[in-house]
């Protein structure tokens, strides 16, 4: 279970005094597709930075087929002697930085042009209700970008200034 170190990251559902701003799409419940237009799950929650008053991650409940794909990838990789992420039963959520997602408002789904389903399948997942710490966030971003050199900024708020979280960059 993840610890709660990042106190600026909140599930929007927990913030009873906040809502998705008008003129923005509330994508909760919408399907999420990878860069090859393969459905990998659906948006379950919106993780927000309260100080910046914006969503920084989409909390995605992944499809069972993707979990199976992940198991297969894990077994294959372990067979090669490479230790990959270990996901336990019930851990079926991943986070997607908002800056790596596109919202198709007309067709009501979310997609990404950078992450394929295989990458999602190998991503470290967490169980719904678990708190998300900054290490998990950093590892997820590194995993999606395939760049383990990415370092966390001095503060999470600075981290969210990265292009993966800001559509203007």
């Amino acid at each position: 279970m993840m610890s709660s170190e990042n106190k600026n990251l909140f599930n929007l559902d927990e913030l009873s005094d906040y809502k998705v701003a008008s003129d923005y799409s509330d994508v909760r419940g919408w399907e999420v597709k990878d860069k090859n237009n393969i459905t990998i799950g659906k948006v379950d929650h919106l993780l927000v930075n309260k100080k910046a008053e914006r969503v920084v991650y989409l909390d995605v409940e992944v499809d069972a087929s993707l979990i199976a794909e992940g198991h297969e990838a894990y077994q294959n990789r372990t067979g090669d002697g490479v230790h990959e992420f270990l996901n336990k039963d019930g851990e079926n959520h991943v986070i997607i930085p908002i800056g790596m997602a596109f919202i198709d408002e007309a067709n009501k789904y979310v997609t990404t042009n950078q992450i394929d389903s295989a990458t999602f399948a190998r991503a470290k997942r967490y169980r719904q209700g678990d708190n998300i710490d900054f290490d998990y966030e950093l590892n997820s971003v590194r995993h999606y970008l395939g760049d383990n050199t990415i370092h966390g900024s001095n503060t999470p708020d600075k981290f969210y200034d990265r292009s993966e979280f800001d559509y203007r960059k």
Binding site: L12, L15, S16, D17, Y18, K19, V20, A21, S22, Y24, S25, D26, V27, L46, V48, E53, R54, V55, I98, G99, M100, A101, F102, I103, V110, D166, Y167, R168
Partner: protein
């Protein structure tokens, strides 16, 4: 790239509370003012009613007994001989008319009228009685007093007429024979007819 902003929900409770407070104030003040207005209207209505109740000059009672006396005096004016029979009949009719008028305005004068009736009857019982003028005067005073009370209570505009009636009554002298003061008695009977006619 996507962006989803969040915003603070507009707190609806403060608005609901404000609305309730405003509504309560409106109800309180409007209700309070309405009550006052209603009370004022009721008070006005009461005043109006009281005015209408007290001033009956505009009300046409059209009492037939009153009309009978008035007609009796008007019709017999030319030929008024003022004998005892006539005086008796005139006083009895005046008595009845005054009683009828009193009934119209719910004014209890039975005791007074009984006295007048007895006095009127005494006039005919002894035609040679020399104290007829005294009895006529007493009758006129009782009737004048009753009519004045009715006037004070319900016909404020007839004050002058009742004053004239009182003068006519006072003009009747007890120590003068009735036959020698026909005009005074006739004036009283006529004035009483005027007052009753106006009240009626």
């Amino acid at each position: 790239m996507a962006e989803i902003k969040i915003e603070k929900k507009k707190q609806i409770w403060p608005w609901i509370l404000t609305g309730l407070v405003v509504a309560a104030l409106v109800v309180y003040f409007v209700g309070f003012r309405d009550n006052n207005e209603n009370k004022a209207v009721i008070a006005d209505a009461d005043n109006t009613t009281e005015t209408n109740d007290s001033d009956l000059i505009a009300v046409n009672e059209n009492n037939s007994t009153v009309a009978e006396y008035v007609n009796f005096i008007r019709n017999s004016n030319e030929n008024m001989t003022l004998d005892h029979e006539f005086t008796n009949e005139a006083l009895l009719k005046l008595n009845d008319a005054t009683s009828a008028m009193a009934d119209e305005v719910n004014y209890d004068i039975k005791a007074d009228m009984d006295k007048v009736r007895n006095l009127a009857n005494e006039i005919t019982e002894d035609p040679y009685e020399t104290s007829h003028a005294d009895k006529i005067k007493k009758s006129s005073e009782i009737i004048t007093n009753v009519l004045q009370n009715i006037q004070n209570a319900h016909y404020p505009s007839l004050a002058n007429d009742v004053s004239d009636l009182k003068s006519a009554s006072q003009s009747i002298k007890t120590d003068v024979l009735t036959l020698d003061q026909k005009s005074e008695v006739k004036a009283f009977l006529n004035k009483a007819a005027d007052v009753l006619e106006k009240m009626n």
